[in-house]
């Protein structure tokens, strides 16, 4: 309760501000329309109209909630109008990208920790790679992959992977390097092989770092997928929903898709949190 109360208060404040903003931002159109119809609006009418517009500049919270509810439960999950269906498309690409990114990140990190050549060669470019606006060239990436015969889920997943490998790489390099000198020396005093040091010392001590970066990575992966879907052949997925909402000026649809994405992100992060808890608990690392 003591934890929920502040959060709820802040949420309430946000909703109040939101309603205020909705009235303020939608008023212009309502008044323009009234002017075109040669009528004037009372304050009451004005407020009512601003909160019920078809294509508001800022939809009111209840409009978004309804749009979201309708999108999620208003039809069969398999329907193309269902946010669950689109969420699923996005989710599958996200997970594929996340898996590729995580695997790449871990592999690179293992290489970097074990080979000085790798460390010095790859690390600076890994940093630079993140300043390439991959999102801006997402459509091109998709075309290039299509020309190599790779279509469908994979191109999106690769964009997602590009964004998610970096946090994993950084976290894992840090994690694999956490064992302090004493712990490494102990291993050496037992004459342990490199593989033994890796499996019995480096890997277990890196797990807390791994999970921390997995949470960042999964969020990044979702962003990557959505942007991969955004301008690049809007077919299905939450990104496509966002785009088509934007294309047809359906602000409520945009916001619903946005919230669906937010919920998805929260669920994914929470899921990793649960896995983390279970793993660390089994390892005796959680107290």
């Amino acid at each position: 309760m003591t934890r929920a109360l502040p959060v709820l208060t802040v949420l309430l404040a946000i909703i109040v501000v939101w309603y205020g903003a909705a009235v303020w931002m939608n008023a212009q159109w309502a008044q323009d329309q009234a002017a075109r119809a040669d009528t004037t609006l009372t304050t009451d009418e004005l407020i009512r109209q601003t909160l019920t517009q078809e294509r508001p500049v800022l939809p009111a919270p209840h409009q978004v909630a309804m749009g979201l509810w309708d999108g999620l439960f208003g039809q069969k999950f398999t329907s193309k109008r269902s946010l669950v269906w689109h969420g699923w498309i996005t989710l599958s690409a996200t997970m594929a990208g996340f898996a590729i990114g995580t695997l790449a990140g871990i592999t690179l990190a293992v290489g970097i920790v074990h080979s000085r050549t790798m460390d010095q060669s790859v690390m600076p470019w890994a940093v630079a790679s993140q300043s390439i606006p991959i999102l801006a060239i997402a459509p091109m990436v998709i075309v290039v992959f299509a020309s190599a015969g790779v279509t469908g889920l994979l191109p999106k997943a690769i964009i997602a992977a590009w964004l998610s490998f970096f946090p994993v790489l950084v976290g894992m390099v840090k994690g694999l390097r956490t064992p302090d000198r004493m712990q490494l020396d102990l291993m050496q005093s037992w004459n342990a092989s490199a593989a033994q040091v890796f499996w019995r010392l480096r890997l277990p001590s890196s797990l807390p770092y791994l999970f921390a970066s997995l949470k960042v990575a999964v969020a990044a992966s979702l962003v990557g997928t959505i942007v991969g879907e955004l301008p690049a052949g809007a077919t299905a997925g939450l990104g496509a929903r966002l785009l088509s909402g934007s294309y047809y000026g359906q602000t409520v649809q945009i916001w619903s898709a946005l919230f669906a994405a937010a919920i998805l992100a929260a669920l994914l992060v929470m899921l990793i949190g649960v896995v983390e808890k279970l793993t660390l608990h089994r390892m005796g690392l959680a107290r």
Partner: protein
């Protein structure tokens, strides 16, 4: 068979680097990544030529370089529009807003408890999704790009700054208490300096976010300049070397941006163990 030269170059460069990295001096530590990067470019050029990849799919580095040099004025205009006006302005506004908010939140445990979980949540959201909305709200020019950037960088910086302000050691706070230090004194002389490493962590993460935000927002409407604009129109004109020149410019700008922030960090948090090599 055609892959043989590619393989040879790769193995040769790797050998050179393995040998270089054994010395581990200042010089080799700059040399090794340069050799690595050059090798990648070389391989790219070779692949494009040997397999005659059409330039509308993947131009060769040499073409990209030529286009970069030929289009310097265009690249500069786009840089100013997107990076300086869009990304930088938005980043600065967002960072300032986040810092001020963090200080405000820090005074109230209630607010901190309320805002932090929400902040953490929002920081993980696909914020770019609001780009079309903000373009609708703030118009076509750089203001809407800056707004996207503000929203994108605000929460990561906020979360870091709040954590930073709370990251003082109990002993350091107790010391302040024993001196009966008033709030502003302990904020200014203890919490602010102690928060700097965290703040810069947030600032560094958000440099790339700022670039991404500014560029992506241009897809949803822009004046006839800007890196996002140029990329999408140049793709439409099949001027792929120009597209890649823009990407190159963005990567350079991004690395510079990051590097400058890291440099300032080094100056400001010189005392932090991670900076004291």
């Amino acid at each position: 068979m055609t892959a043989l030269p590619i393989l040879i170059v790769w193995l040769g460069a790797w050998g050179v680097n393995s040998w270089l990295s054994r010395f581990d001096t200042r010089l080799t530590r700059t040399l090794v990544p340069i050799v690595f990067g050059t090798t990648i470019l070389l391989l790219w050029e070779m692949i494009v030529r040997i397999y005659s990849v059409p330039s509308v799919i993947l131009p060769a580095p040499s073409q990209i370089g030529a286009s970069f040099m030929a289009n310097l004025p265009v690249l500069w205009t786009d840089f100013v529009q997107t990076i300086i006006k869009g990304a930088l302005t938005g980043w600065i506004i967002g960072a300032l807003a986040a810092i001020v908010t963090a200080i405000a939140i820090d005074r109230s445990t209630f607010l901190r408890r309320g805002l932090l979980p929400i902040g953490n949540f929002v920081a993980a959201l696909p914020i770019v999704g609001i780009a079309p909305i903000l373009v609708m709200w703030f118009g076509f020019d750089w203001q809407s790009k800056a707004a996207v950037v503000v929203v994108m960088v605000f929460f990561p910086i906020l979360v870091n700054m709040v954590a930073g302000l709370a990251a003082t050691e109990a002993m350091q706070r107790d010391l302040m208490a024993t001196w009966a230090a008033p709030y502003w004194q302990s904020l200014w002389k203890l919490r602010m300096p102690a928060a700097m490493p965290f703040l810069f962590n947030g600032l560094k993460i958000t440099t790339t976010l700022a670039l991404i935000g500014a560029i992506v927002a241009e897809f949803f409407g822009s004046p006839t300049r800007g890196m996002g604009f140029r990329i999408s129109t140049a793709v439409g004109r099949l001027d792929l070397p120009l597209v890649w020149a823009e990407i190159l410019a963005a990567a350079i700008a991004g690395s510079l941006f990051y590097g400058i922030v890291a440099l300032i960090e080094k100056k400001v948090t010189f005392w932090h163990p991670s900076q004291r090599t």
